[in-house]
């Protein structure tokens, strides 16, 4: 069947009702889902073939509370539903996804959508959770009152969307009868709930009792700090045996290839470039997975919007909004989805401020650099009888990023004339026990992303750097390391005077350049550069002991400070240009981040040099 003849279906509904989970279930996609509002900020498209062979094109739209859009992501939903979205035909059918545990909120939008004059189907999602809580929904009555087919779905179950697929495979339902334009939608929702839904009083009791602690202004903040602290401790404590295993594997591989191949460029490429470089980054996979294990657990449980609520006062004081929390939190994985998630922020000034400070959140690409330097220079010892010193330093680096982001946001607030503040209106989802399978899938995907990145762009950049660090080859009789004679070596020596005041040697200067493409490349670049710098037989030796031996503590601390602020990777700058619609914002972002990085490194190096 041709695409033109396909049934065009749009999934619409309030944020966090499970549209994307349902979209993934219907189309077999793997779009990100989480237990908080605002995960989807763009329209996504997928296809499914119904049992009869009918082709259905499914659009997953950002969540919206109303067709009166207040933020850019809501505007996408409104425009698609109204047929005003450029290059997008109006859907043939709206599937209104509602959270069956929270119909009082979600039905209001359904009534508003009825006025669009499009055939509609209501998908009662999370109906298993509703049944567990004792919420009884008379589906037949709801169907009769709304004038549209109502199907029950459990998007996270294997066959949870079966009834919806069957509904999509039938003829289009008739247009639902819309309420008058001036109708009181809230009153109508109350009437519908009275007719079709029975909610026991104890439904929200568990959530309320947990929230009394979690949202407490003192206990809640203490709990949040403890959680984050524990997370960073675990990153170092739990990962060590696994990292040792991976490191051992690559050492063995380096020795095996080194002894098998004759001396020459191919051996150098494989041992000094591929194994020392890409292998040196892959070692950090366990730490990245442990960090994401915690993030996934927090996402799934419904805790994250509570954290946003807790930090709202702090955020507003610094010139941001509580809504900035989710974009900033996403930036811990990567600044790019974080910057795009800022579309959920209505006020353009708040959105711009969030975009500009999002790069200060410590993205996962920085973790290999931090982990390398901490392991090489910070002794592994227990302090105060309980805490791992390396974990404490990592926590401090993440905290430095957060504090710097708040300080920069405060400076922007101070400079701008408009001092208005926007109240935070945020839906707090019910708590859920994280599904171990979902968490396992999330971790698997994260591992694959990292491995693909190492095997893709990182490996490619490492090979190019190996070439630049190996050619031109030195003339016969040259006594120094070959890399000194190479193009990369010359560039490193050439720019080193600029970085001398902050303690960077020429090897670090070389690594900074490919590090602009992707941060982790700095680690593989250092590994390759040091492997090629060696004039002895230990060329494939691990990077960690080499830098521990050759760098001063002041240099290591200075490089750590650099990477708290370091100018962003090129992809991040490109996204800033796109979201801010101009190069001036990119120039501001890159300029202030570079300035802060240099200043922080200068202070760190000079103070540390004076003290050590």
């Amino acid at each position: 069947m041709s695409e033109a003849a396909a049934l065009r279906v749009a999934l619409v509904g309030n944020p966090n009702c499970g549209k994307t989970a349902l979209f993934n279930r219907l189309t077999g996609s793997r779009q990100k889902v989480a237990n908080y509002a605002g995960v989807t900020v763009e329209r996504k498209e997928g296809r499914l073939v119904a049992p009869s062979g009918r082709l259905v094109q499914v659009l997953d739209l950002p969540g919206a509370y109303s067709l009166h859009a207040t933020s850019p992501d809501e505007a996408v939903t409104r425009d698609v539903c109204l047929g005003h979205f450029e290059g997008e035909a109006r859907p043939d059918l709206l599937v209104c996804v509602v959270d069956a545990t929270n119909l009082r909120l979600h039905l209001r939008f359904v009534l508003e959508l009825q006025q669009l004059g499009l055939p509609m189907v209501l998908a009662l999602n999370l109906c298993d959770a509703a049944a567990k809580r004792g919420i009884r929904i008379d589906v037949a009555a709801l169907q009769r009152e709304l004038g549209m087919p109502v199907v029950e779905t459990v998007a996270i179950r294997r066959h949870g969307a079966q009834s919806l697929v069957q509904q999509l495979d039938t003829r289009l339902p008739p247009l639902p009868a819309a309420l008058p334009a001036d109708a009181d939608l809230h009153a109508e929702v109350s009437r519908l709930l009275g007719v079709a839904v029975s909610v026991p009083r104890r439904t929200a009791q568990i959530d309320d009792s947990i929230d009394r602690v979690v949202l407490h202004p003192v206990a809640g903040l203490a709990l949040l700090a403890t959680l984050l602290f524990f997370m960073f401790q675990a990153v170092f404590s739990w990962a060590e045996p696994l990292m040792g295993g991976i490191e051992g594997l690559f050492n063995w591989l380096g020795i095996a290839i080194g002894t098998t191949l004759p001396d020459g460029m191919l051996k150098s490429l494989l041992v000094d470039g591929v194994i020392a470089g890409a292998g040196g980054v892959l070692v950090f996979l366990p730490q990245i997975l442990i960090l994401f294990l915690f993030i996934l657990l927090l996402e799934e449980s419904g805790y994250l919007p509570r954290a946003a609520f807790l930090l709202d006062r702090l955020m507003v004081g610094a010139g941001l909004t509580g809504r900035s929390f989710i974009p900033l939190l996403s930036s811990f994985a990567c600044a790019i989805p974080g910057i795009m998630a800022a579309r959920t922020i209505q006020d353009p000034r708040d959105r711009l401020a969030t975009i500009l400070v999002a790069p200060l959140m410590t993205c996962s690409a920085r973790l290999p650099i931090y982990a390398l330097l901490i392991a090489a220079f910070i002794p592994q010892q227990t302090v105060w009888g309980w805490f791992n010193l390396q974990g404490l330093v990592l926590f401090a680096l993440y905290a430095a990023g957060i504090v710097s982001a708040l300080a920069v946001a405060y400076a922007m607030k101070w400079m701008r004339r408009d001092q208005t503040e926007h109240a935070l209106l945020l839906e707090l989802p019910s708590y859920r026990l994280p599904n171990p399978l979902d968490v396992a899938i999330g971790l698997w995907e994260r591992a694959m992303i990292f491995i693909k990145r190492v095997g893709g762009v990182l490996l490619a950049l490492t090979i190019l750097l190996w070439f630049l660090s190996s050619f031109p080859a030195p003339p016969a009789g040259y006594s120094g390391a070959a890399i000194d004679y190479s193009l990369a070596g010359r560039i490193g020596h050439w720019i080193q005077p600029l970085f001398a005041p902050i303690g960077f040697n020429w090897q670090i200067c070389i690594a900074l350049i490919p590090g602009l493409a992707a941060r982790e490349v700095a680690v593989s670049a250092l590994a390759t550069v040091y492997a090629l710098s060696s004039t002895g037989d230990d060329a494939a030796g691990a990077l960690m002991p080499i830098i521990a031996d050759q760098w001063s503590l002041a240099t290591a601390l200075s490089l750590l400070a650099w990477y708290v602020y370091a100018p962003q990777c090129l992809s991040t700058l490109a996204v800033i240009r796109r979201e801010a619609n101009g190069w001036s914002t990119v120039a501001i972002a890159a300029g202030y981040l570079f300035g802060l990085a240099y200043l922080a490194s200068l202070l760190t190096y000079q103070i540390a040099s004076a003290l050590t």
Binding site: R30, E45, L266, L459, L461, L570, S571, R578, A580, N581
Partner: protein, 81 residues
């Protein structure tokens, strides 16, 4: 040149070309498309914009959008007096 030398040359040359091509595709997809069209003499096909979902960073959950990401740039609107 020995047989091993030839293999070495081909492997290293291939790896370098592939790496350069891959890096270009990641960070300058339009330039790569133009290069490809210049090499093949065909008109360049539409390419995804660099960075953002399904392009540059490859660190999110691998969005599989079938169209380039929609732009929603910041727009400041003056206050109505």
């Amino acid at each position: 040149m020995s047989a091993y030398g030839l293999v070495e040359f081909l492997v290293i040359g291939g790896a370098l070309l592939l790496s350069a091509w891959s890096v270009l595709g990641q960070f300058a997809p339009r330039l790569r498309a133009r290069l490809l069209s210049a090499l093949t003499g065909q008109r360049p096909a539409a390419t995804a914009k660099a960075a953002g979902c399904d392009t540059g960073c490859s660190s999110c959950n691998g969005c599989a959008t079938t169209k380039p990401a929609t732009e929603q740039p910041i727009r400041f609107v003056g206050r109505q007096s």
